[in-house]
Amino acid sequence: MNGSVFRTMATYLEFIQQNEERDGVRFSWNVWPSSRLEATRMVVPLACLLTPLKERPDLPPVQYEPVLCSRPTCKAILNPLCQVDYRAKLWACNFCFQRNQFPPAYTGISEVNQPAELMPQFSTIEYVLQRGAQSPLIFLYVVDTCLEEDDLQALKESLQMSLSLLPPDALVGLITFGRMVQVHELSCEGISKSYVFRGTKDLTAKQIQDMLGLTKPAVPMQQARPGPPQEHPFVSSRFLQPVHKIDMNLTDLLGELQRDPWPVTQGKRPLRSTGVALSIAVGLLEGTFPNTGARIMLFTGGPPTQGPGMVVGDELKVPIRSWHDIEKDNARFMKKATKHYEMLANRTATNGHCIDIYACALDQTGLLEMKCCANLTGGHMVMGDSFNTSLFKQTFQRIFSKDFNGDFRMAFGATLEVKTSRELKVAGAIGPCVSLNVKGPCVSENELGVGGTNQWKICGLDPTSTLGIYFEVVNQHNAPVPQGGRGAIQFVTQYQHSSTQRRIRVTTIARNWADAQSQLRHIEAAFDQEAAAVLMARLGVFRAESEEGPDVLRWLDRQLIRLFMFHLRRSPFLQVFNNSPDESSYYRHHFARQDLTQSLIMIQPILYSYSFHGPPEPVLLDSSSILADRILLMDTFFQIVIYLGECFHSGFGWFVLVQTIAQWRKAGYQDMPEYENFKHLLQAPLDDAQEILQARFPMPRYINTEHGGSQARFLLSKVNPSQTHNNLYAWGQETGAPILTDDVSLQVFMDHLKKLAVSSAC
């Protein structure tokens, strides 16, 4: 952080990397333009990607509470950037310059005896709060029973398995739905008991609670019998029970779960009451455990077909809405359904619960409408073809993975507060959060993303959850920042740890101001193009999601062309062609919450090439990279594609015929000892893919295909179409494979760009 760091790019890279590792923060600009005017000229806004709960095995939480600035409007937390007068036992807030007395417990501090929060390496620090009742985590399974037999079986097994992964004292509940919605009582002996709701009728939270008997029972009879001991601490305990008490019971219950028994006539979709089921789940938790960490986990195998939140009717001949329908305003149920789920999502967020959606079906399941449930509450969204796939099974299992401390990688009910020094204001955030509408002094009037606040609620988050936070430099041009002045930002994340502790993680960072006119080089050098790309992309996706019409597209085009982001423009986040609305929602959901590395993969997939020529190497994401003698491994984040090339290099003389690697494999060469190198070649991408699969959440779709295979389209749609049927000059050459598309290639894009750059004023 001293001046010398700025000398070379290499050191900047280090600096950025170090910052990311320590604080989970990456800024688009690491030296900040010192005035509003200069900042707006930079096109890419001052913004950062923040991973609030980035795993820090080296950071043990401290077991005391943070010291706050005493100014009521500030309340910033004591941090290494604060000036400390050890003799007077005073510290000055670096945000509002208030001088604060240390609390009595700090009487012993001195230059040599500093509390952790004052040490520079603790720019990020985590406090464990001792107060507050610790309530157990809650997992409420909401299970669709309109599934095929084997799908349901697989799902049941996954759910049963999950019971063993839950913390023993966690509360668990079960709601099943099909034509009706059943809330299962888990405490009863003998007869299994469930409360049944019509799937067509929306109920208010109050009605749901009344019907479930969660409201306090009226004292029956006139004589208040001095009778039975006070029941349970929670009235709700009938529906939410500690895992250790009922896991046998629940395992049996899940085992006996039958497919929805109502007949489905030919040409109809099963009646699926997802909207009501979710509504009941939300209402149940709302009435019983508000502001406690809870996950509603929705497992659905098809679109909601009745009641509030229905996405499509039950007539199979009417297909589920497509982008085309939406553009033509033909999606009958979309607006109403979206409204329903948004209402639920907002209520859930208010209660501090989160909703996961696990949608496994070949057709769309209404993620477009339901997306806000996961997006606003920080829940997971998983999309698969069937519950009977490893994609779902392993993804689901990974939810319950544990960190180095043996704690679940999940946190609940977080609030993120951002404090800035006075030259900066907060413009907004983009990520799995909702606004808390706290209008502090550091809130900008210009909104980028979810703005108008400096506090957000993130109901569910994990160590990789990443928010894009956008700032505005408000310093006026004529009031320069004094030389060497630094701007500071403090991120305060209060959350419920999976061990049910309340914790606060505080990250305080500072960056140098620079005058754009005199120190443009510095600013330029400190530009983080990766972070900028992701941040801009988030902004683009956010706009595409929340706004409509050609304005957004034009804005995007203008912005993106200026940013030369060819791949982003082609990505499913912005390009809806060839994707269903559900897929788009799914991709966007993940794009808005993954960290920088993953986001970059999403924007520009990685392509590795394997051949006999040498070690695997990254190659251009271009059709020219598709060569017959190569095995390609493409990682798009959502898909891992292994592609076997068409023909082998002619240099291998002992093959007279043009053979494909695929054909060799079919011929079984890999099993012959003399072709062990072929076996290794085949194996290498598999191993690499496996490595990626292991680490990624959600599990990517794993595609092992070959030249001409139907699944090869996954690869072909991603690569830059440098050779197409339109430019046949490369046809027949061994330099790649033509892609049958009308999309422009990077070459055309660049040509266009050059023209634009010359002609346009900017």
């Binding site: 009706m180 003998g190 007869i191 008991k193 049944v196 019509r198 009728k201 029972p217 028994p261 007949p263």
Partner: protein, 971 residues
């Protein structure tokens, strides 16, 4: 006795028509004595208290207003010696049916009105008893025994002011009973006359009529071949041979000879009605209707009026065509049905085909007769059990669940099938509903709670309705667990309409008809559709608003019932109220769906278990037809216009019955719409389309041919009073829904008077106006009608609750003739009169306290109640052998079970009780009443010939009143 001297100074003829004060409108209406001073009948000493509704029993309502002289008791006997003293007068068990001419009869102790009304006992004549001699059908003697009027006094046409005595004379004639009331004017100074009164033995005795009919007609079978035959009385045991007309067990008519023209009918005012019990149970000696299968084309019917083939259809043109006997349309005989005719024009195969030779038979229905053109699935029974606090506490739930376990083996089945086709389902409820999945594959039943009572639905499809034998283990487990699950319930609120809705929806989902058995305890006050409030208000009694007590509180239940009927969902309701539950509203759905209501007030397992279980067993086991439609067709000239019973009608002709069992009766009223022909008579055809309990769709046809007459006398000669009463009671009981009770009563009295006056005018041989002449067939009409008038519904006593009235009201609506007969005129059987050895039932005695002797024990039953009355001076031996206690005082009052003792008397009495119970469709709980005990009041309520505490007239008083009404009409 000289009371006439002190008559009020009103000119005797000041009023155009002498008013029998006791029946004066105003006093009848509850304004006692308001007219007393102006009435000329000082001797009456005020209105007969029998009609004094507001005066406390036993009081002289008008004493204070009557002249002083009338206050003096006319005779020492007038001042009734209280209690047992009066019995002592007659010795033990002396007061019986026989006349007692020498000894002054005493009304029951404490009943004073007669003390002040001196009625001269008529000296019994030997001829008095003769009217009962020859049966009316055979005896065509026309001798008017007018000369038998022995009172020498000349009877003036109009009674003058003064001491008026009414005496009745009996006369026997071919067709009528002549009762001659005489009005004596005693001029001059008062002379102490021997107190006179009407001899109760001289007025027609129901007991005598019943006995006579038994003796005359009980011995040989009733053959239905001849048109217009009057069947034996319902109280007579007889066999029926179907030879072309429906058995009287299926159809009884008010008259078997109906007037040809509507003018005649209007003149006679005799209602033309048929009481039809389409699925009546037959004694084992009689064959149940044959089932006829006409194959794919379905039953043969008239093309125009759609009447079904029956014995009255005329085959013509050598058998190629037939003429409809109802509408005269000529139809072709389908080739497959063709048969040659014999020389009489009868089909050769007439006796091989039930539909050509019998009055009652069944057709197999084709798919055209089924809902949605689909053969029905077997019906289902759904047991819906209230598990609120009251139901649990009273032990009902445990008892019921225990009983159901075994009862489910006895679901109705058809023919010789091993297993019942009926599926069962279970629901429990308080303010939410619990459905149970009892699928056979489950190890444990599953409970599904539906709390959305506002919008009821069925939460499961598969596993709710199951076959008992397949799911036995699960069902047993469920029934074991239900009482445990709710043992600690503190829920007191219940819902009701949603429960029925749920059952109906379940049947709808299963696409079958069926029956709901609801076991309910309390007023449904929980927030839900059909929520009720307590609106019981005794202050409304005798006001114009009284009818609201019989009307449902909300229209929701009617709507619900309509849906139930559409689904073929019959609802049987078992009520166990501790307080007001609004039977009037709750019984709407059972009533409209052809179901039954059972009510067990203040249910306690120890006391009411037997009664409830017995009713339940019977109700579950009885054969039911589902999803039925009944249509009554008549030959041209008359038309069915009105229907009474437990059913629903969406148009004017089709009686829709979600369920119909062998106890349910539909009363149909006919009106003329054209002339009838004496020769062809009038035909009725009742067709009932229903689904049997095995799920077979069938048509049951009953045919009945009646005579037509141009002479009113023929009408009166062929009437049946019991059926008439059945109709009139139902008519009146429906009337209370819309009119004040008083209006209804007046209408009944007027109609009765008109019937009798018409007879008097047109049929009886001329005689003095003072004579009351009753047609032989209707001589019991006054006494029975009086019983109807003073029944709880029309004249409630203080102890009768609103719920009781509503309950009885709906019960009577579907009663058959035998049931109404005994219900309105209970049977009173002396137990120790006849020798113990005699196997037959002891002859009944008239329902009057006079007939009780304190040295005897009596059984009284009316089809709902059963009393054992023990006289205070019953021999110790009898007490010992019946009750196993040594003295009268040790008998527990209110005892409901007789100890099982091994002695002839005990065996006989218990045997008798059992046989009485077996005759009735509901179990009668026994109550032992001791003479002079508190409970005796309850018992006396059923002594219907006496004046009732609630103000009902005694038989004698009513007869007088009726006579006066008739005279008014005649003059």
């Amino acid at each position: 006795m000289n009371v006439n001297q002190s008559a009020p100074p009103v000119p005797p003829f000041g009023q155009p028509q002498p008013v029998y004060q006791g029946y004066h409108q105003s006093s009848y209406g509850g304004q006692p004595g308001s007219t007393a001073p102006t009435t000329p009948y000082g001797a009456y000493n005020g209105p007969v208290p029998g009609y004094q509704q507001t005066s406390p029993p036993g009081m002289f309502p008008s004493v204070s207003r009557a002249p002083p002289s009338s206050e003096a008791p006319p005779a020492s006997t007038a001042q009734a010696p209280c209690g047992q003293a009066s019995y002592g007068q007659f010795g033990q068990g002396d007061v019986q049916n026989g006349p007692s001419s020498t000894v002054q009869m005493q009304r029951f102790p404490g009943s004073q009105p007669f003390g002040s009304v001196p009625l001269a006992p008529v000296v019994s004549q030997p001829t008095v008893l003769q009217p009962y001699g020859p049966p009316p059908t055979s005896a065509q003697v026309t001798a008017q025994l007018a000369g038998m009027q022995i009172s020498g006094a000349v009877a003036p046409a109009l009674p003058p002011v003064g001491n008026v005595t009414i005496s009745f004379f009996l006369e026997a004639s071919d067709s009528g009973v002549y009762l001659n009331p005489f009005y004596f004017y005693q001029p001059g100074p008062p002379q102490p006359l021997p107190p006179k009164r009407l001899d109760p033995d001289a007025i027609p005795s129901p007991i005598q009529v019943i006995e006579d009919d038994r003796n005359n007609r009980g011995s040989e079978p009733f053959v239905t071949g001849v048109r217009g035959q009057v069947p034996p009385l319902v109280t007579t045991n007889f066999l029926v041979k179907d030879q072309g007309n429906a058995s009287p067990r299926y159809i009884r008519c008010t008259s078997y000879n109906i007037p040809c023209t509507s003018d005649m009918a209007k003149q006679a005012q005799v209602p033309l009605a048929a009481v039809i019990k389409p699925l009546a149970r037959l004694p084992p000696e009689e064959a149940s209707p044959y089932v006829v299968d006409h194959g794919e084309s379905g039953p043969l019917r008239c093309n125009r009026c759609k009447a079904y083939m029956c014995p009255f259809m005329q085959f013509i043109e050598g058998g190629r065509r037939f003429q409809c006997c109802f509408c005269s349309c000529i139809n072709d005989v389908p080739p497959q049905y063709f048969q040659h005719l014999d020389h009489t024009g009868k089909r050769v195969d007439a006796y091989d085909r039930p539909e050509l030779s019998l009055g009652s038979y069944e057709f197999l229905a084709t798919v055209d007769y089924c809902k949605n053109n689909k053969f029905p699935s077997p019906p289902a029974f759904i047991f819906m059990i209230d598990v609120s606090y009251n139901a649990i506490r009273s032990g009902l739930v445990r008892l019921l669940c225990e009983e159901l376990k075994s009862l489910l083996d006895f679901l109705p089945r058809e023919g010789g099938t091993e297993e019942s086709a009926i599926r069962v389902g279970f629901v429990t409820y308080n303010k939410v509903l619990h459905f149970y999945n009892v699928k056979s594959s489950l190890a444990q039943p599953q409970m599904m709670v539906v709390s959305d009572v506002a919008d009821m639905f069925v939460p499961l499809l598969d596993g709710f309705l199951v076959n008992v034998s397949e799911s036995r283990a699960v069902i047993t487990s469920l029934l074991d667990q239900i009482p445990e699950m709710f043992a600690d319930t503190r829920e007191t609120e219940t819902v009701f309409a949603p429960v029925i809705q749920a059952g109906m929806e379940a049947l709808k989902a299963a696409e079958c008809a069926g029956k709901l058995f609801l076991f309910h305890t309390s007023l449904p006050i929980a927030e839900a559709p059909g929520k009720l409030k307590n609106r019981d208000d005794r202050k409304l009694i005798n006001t114009d608003k009284e009818k609201t007590l019989f009307q449902p509180q909300t229209g929701a239940y009617q709507t619900l019932a309509k849906e139930c009927v559409a689904q073929g969902c019959c609802v049987d309701l078992f009520l166990f109220p501790n307080q007001y539950v609004d039977v009037a509203t709750l019984s709407v759905v059972p009533q409209l769906t052809g179901g039954s209501v059972y009510k067990y007030a203040c249910f306690q397992v120890e006391n009411d278990q037997e009664r409830f279980l017995s009713d339940l067993r019977r109700d579950v086991q009885k054969v039911v037809g589902f999803d039925a439609v009944m249509r009554v067709r008549t030959s041209t000239g008359i038309r069915a216009v009105d229907f009474f019973g437990a059913f629903y009608m969406s148009n004017t002709t089709d009686v829709e019955l979600a369920g119909l069992d062998g106890d349910k009766t539909v009363t149909v009223e006919f009106k003329h719409d054209d002339r009838l022909n004496e020769e062809s008579g009038a035909l009725l055809q009742c067709a009932l389309l229903y689904t049997s309990c095995a799920g077979q769709r069938r048509l049951r046809i009953h045919n009945l041919a009646l005579n037509c007459c141009t002479q009113l006398a023929d009408l009166y000669r062929n009437c049946e009073t019991d059926t008439l009463i059945n109709y009139m009671a139902k008519f009146a009981y429906r009337g209370v829904l819309n009119s004040p009770v008083k209006t209804v009563r007046d209408t009944l009295i007027t109609q009765c008077a008109q019937i009798l006056a018409c007879y008097r005018k047109n049929c009886a041989s001329p005689s003095s106006a003072g004579q009351l002449i009753l047609p032989e067939c209707m001589k019991l009409l006054p006494v029975y009608l009086n019983c109807v008038l003073k029944s709880d519904v029309l004249q409630p006593g203080a102890e009768v609750t609103t719920d009781d009235r509503a309950y009885v009201r709906q019960l009577v609506t579907s009663m058959d003739v035998a049931e109404t007969n005994v219900f309105f005129y209970p049977r009173l059987l002396p137990l120790t009169k006849s020798p113990i050895e005699s196997a037959t039932e002891p002859p009944a005695v008239r329902a009057s306290e006079e007939r009780l002797s304190n040295g005897d024990i009596y059984l009284l039953e009316n089809g709902l109640n059963l009393f054992l009355w023990v006289g205070a001076s019953v021999q110790q031996g009898v007490v010992q052998s019946l009750f196993n206690v040594s003295s009268f005082s040790q008998i527990t009052s209110g005892l409901s079970v007789l100890p099982v003792l091994d002695n002839p008397l005990s065996k006989k009495v218990r045997g008798l009780i059992d046989s009485l119970r077996a005759q009735r469709s509901r179990y009668m709980k026994l109550i032992v009443v001791k003479q002079e005990d508190k409970l005796e009041m309850l018992f006396k309520h059923f002594l219907v010939e006496d004046k009732s505490l609630s103000g009902g007239a005694s038989y004698v008083d009513f007869l007088c009143h009726m006579h006066k009404e008739i005279r008014q009409l005649l003059s």
